[in-house]
């Protein structure tokens, strides 16, 4: 095989994938970027001129600040609670015996096979004024009238955590597979208590899994649409639902596009910053 040919082969082989990647992802994104610099006249629609007014609006209007802040806080809290729930869950799953391990892992990851919409609808049923939670609280006499978690921060948070926790479990699970269980025994034989083993031996070793899991969860929560749309609705908007409303209700496509672009850029900045920070911290230990 000639030199030239051997250089071409990888390109030819990855060509189809590259092409569909470009067509399906890069082109629409570039179009969104272009769209975000167009102007919009309520009577005339999208105008063919280059303006930065959409971005100025996004960056100066306190209405959008609130929405971005809410999205950030909600995503961070979702990631936080996913760590709190997902890490012990993965650890316990990993310690289970043969038949149960598989069954519970399937139960944990199974919901990924069901549409987010269906799973969120389930929460809507539970959260509503006539939902299970409301009825229980009234039955216990903790409240006189019906209680609803619909359109509340808490409601969206609970649903998001439920939807995204499997990603955390998966990520931590993967790093638990690399953990040598003998290191736990070694620590015990040296006099460590179960708690010390967890804190000093297990946690540090699965930290990379927790970090990447929280990046995934944060990114998915920040861009989530279905769950905030169904539980949060119009009353509790996040960036994704706001952009959607701009597109479909105000028909202000350029503003919606600039919201989407800002969200994307913020997401990338936060995630790479986070990765950089921890990579530097752990590179010595875990680089292979």
């Amino acid at each position: 095989m000639s030199d030239l040919q051997s250089k071409r082969t990888p390109w030819l082989l990855s060509g189809p994938a590259l092409l569909s990647y470009a067509l399906l992802l890069v082109v629409p994104m570039l179009m969104t970027l272009v769209l975000s610099f167009r102007s919009f006249e309520p009577m005339l629609g999208v105008q063919d001129e280059f303006v930065v007014s959409n971005y100025i609006e996004v960056f100066t209007d306190p209405y959008f600040h609130e929405i971005f802040l809410r999205t950030f806080v909600m995503s961070a809290l979702t990631a936080f609670f996913c760590v709190l729930i997902g890490v012990p869950e993965a650890y316990i799953l990993n310690r289970m015996r043969a038949p149960w391990k598989g069954i519970f892992l399937l139960m944990t990851l199974g919901p990924l096979l069901i549409s987010v919409v269906v799973r969120t609808l389930g929460w809507a049923v539970i959260f509503g004024r006539e939902g299970v939670i409301s009825e229980t609280i009234q039955f216990l006499g903790l409240s006189d009238g019906p209680v609803s978690l619909m359109y509340t921060q808490t409601g969206v948070l609970i649903a998001l955590v439920h939807v995204l926790v499997p990603f955390m479990v998966l990520s931590v699970w993967a790093s638990l597979q690399r953990l040598d269980p003998e290191t736990e025994r070694a620590a015990i034989s040296l006099g460590a208590s179960q708690f010390t083993v967890m804190r000093r031996i297990v946690l540090p070793q699965i930290t990379p899994g927790i970090l990447s899991g929280s990046v995934i969860v944060f990114a998915l929560a920040a861009t989530a649409f279905a769950t905030p749309a169904m539980i949060g609705g119009r009353r509790l908007k996040v960036v994704a639902t706001t952009a959607y409303d701009e597109f479909l209700h105000s028909l202000n496509w350029p503003l919606g596009a600039s919201l989407a672009v800002v969200l994307l850029i913020l997401n990338i900045v936060i995630i790479t910053g986070y990765n950089r920070f921890f990579e530097r911290k752990y590179s010595q230990v875990f680089e292979s």
Binding site: T183, G191, A192, S193
Partner: protein, 351 residues
């Protein structure tokens, strides 16, 4: 009462009997090896001493204290795991100091003692490295230092050298032996490698199918094996069956003089004969046969000779003055009768 006493220890996994009624006493400062083929229950036995497995029956007494039900974290034993089990997120020094930290030793003293332990295993220069930056042999030493630094009541080693290459393994055998002598810690080592066990142990417990077949000094286990299994597991051995009558051993159609071996007349008896005890001789051989194969190993020759008693394996040191023996040649073989070992027949189920 000895320092460590295992009395009638058994371990069942459901129906499966992994360790079957083992008793073993170890003196203070002794180096004992549990030797046996894979799956014979060595690790299980060690894990029960360490406290990671509960015996189904029996008791373990250490230094006069019954530790059978004690938590592993309270037993104060040093354990070296087969794959070392170093903490990958800690430096070598932190790894070694961990056990002292658990014992609430002050920071300065703890680092000082960890450094000394690392000097002992010749790793004084590597203390700031992480385990993955060390070779297998170095990791092994860190594991040893980590186990020894806490001045353990017992040192438990599970196949400590099995992950090292041959040359390094021999060096580490000598070093392990040397370190153990200097520190004087009572040690139990598990291994399936007979040369390793012979090289480092004060006594060897040969195990098979969850039982101890024989416990004795290395020389005695090798020279006076109590069973067919022991004699074939430690080194190579030639075995054959014969019948004794009137001071002569009848094997196949052959008669072999065994006048210097005190034997009652008997029916079938099994004998073992080590390959290095057999020599070539031209006059008055005990038996003769044809050389079917020979291999040169540097320090010695290995011959295979077909005889009426079966194929014989013969080791001869590379220090013999006779003419070179060729394949296909017919040779006479001789040995001293007292080198033949009578071995007790194994129970029928094992044959």
């Amino acid at each position: 009462m000895s320092y460590l006493q295992l009395s009638n220890i058994s371990k069942h996994f459901d129906e499966y009997v992994a360790v079957d009624n083992i008793s073993l006493s170890v003196e203070k400062g002794e180096f004992i090896s549990l030797l046996g083929p894979s799956g014979c229950g060595k690790t299980t036995t060690l894990q029960m001493v360490a406290g990671f497995l509960n015996p189904t029956a029996g008791s373990i007494v250490l230094d006069g204290k019954n530790i059978t039900a004690m938590k592993p974290s309270e037993r104060g034993l040093g354990i070296v795991f087969q794959k070392y089990a170093l903490f990958p997120h800690m430096t070598v020094l932190e790894n070694v100091a961990f056990g002292l930290e658990m014992r609430k030793v002050g920071k300065n003293e703890r680092l000082q003692r960890a450094r000394e332990a690392l000097e002992l295993v010749h790793l004084g220069l590597f203390i700031e490295r992480y385990p993955r930056q060390l070779s297998g042999g170095q990791q092994q030493r860190v594991a040893l230092a980590r186990a020894l630094v806490i001045n353990p009541h017992l040192l438990l080693l599970d196949e400590p050298l099995s992950n090292l290459d041959a040359k390094l393994r021999e060096d580490m055998q000598l070093e392990l032996h040397d370190i153990q002598r200097r520190v004087g810690t009572t040690t139990i080592m598990v291994t399936h490698d007979q040369s390793e066990a012979l090289a480092v142990s004060d006594r060897i417990a040969v195990m098979q199918s969850g039982r101890i077949e024989q416990i004795d000094k290395p020389f005695n286990v090798y020279e006076h094996p109590k069973s067919d299994f022991v004699s074939s597991f430690l080194g190579k051995t030639n075995t054959f069956e014969g019948r004794v009558s009137h001071g002569r051993l009848q094997v196949g159609g052959q008669h072999i003089a065994v006048d210097d071996l005190k034997l009652a007349d008997s029916s079938n008896t099994r004998f073992a004969l080590r390959p290095e005890k057999i020599r070539f001789c031209s006059d008055a051989p005990k038996i003769s046969g044809k050389v079917s194969n020979r291999v040169f190993l540097g320090s010695q020759w290995i011959y295979e000779v077909q005889t009426p008693l079966g194929d014989f394996l013969i080791y001869e040191s590379n220090n013999q003055k006779h003419d070179e023996i060729q394949e296909g040649e017919t040779v006479g073989l001789s040995w001293d009768s007292q080198d033949m070992r009578l071995i007790a027949e194994e129970p029928a189920s094992h044959v």
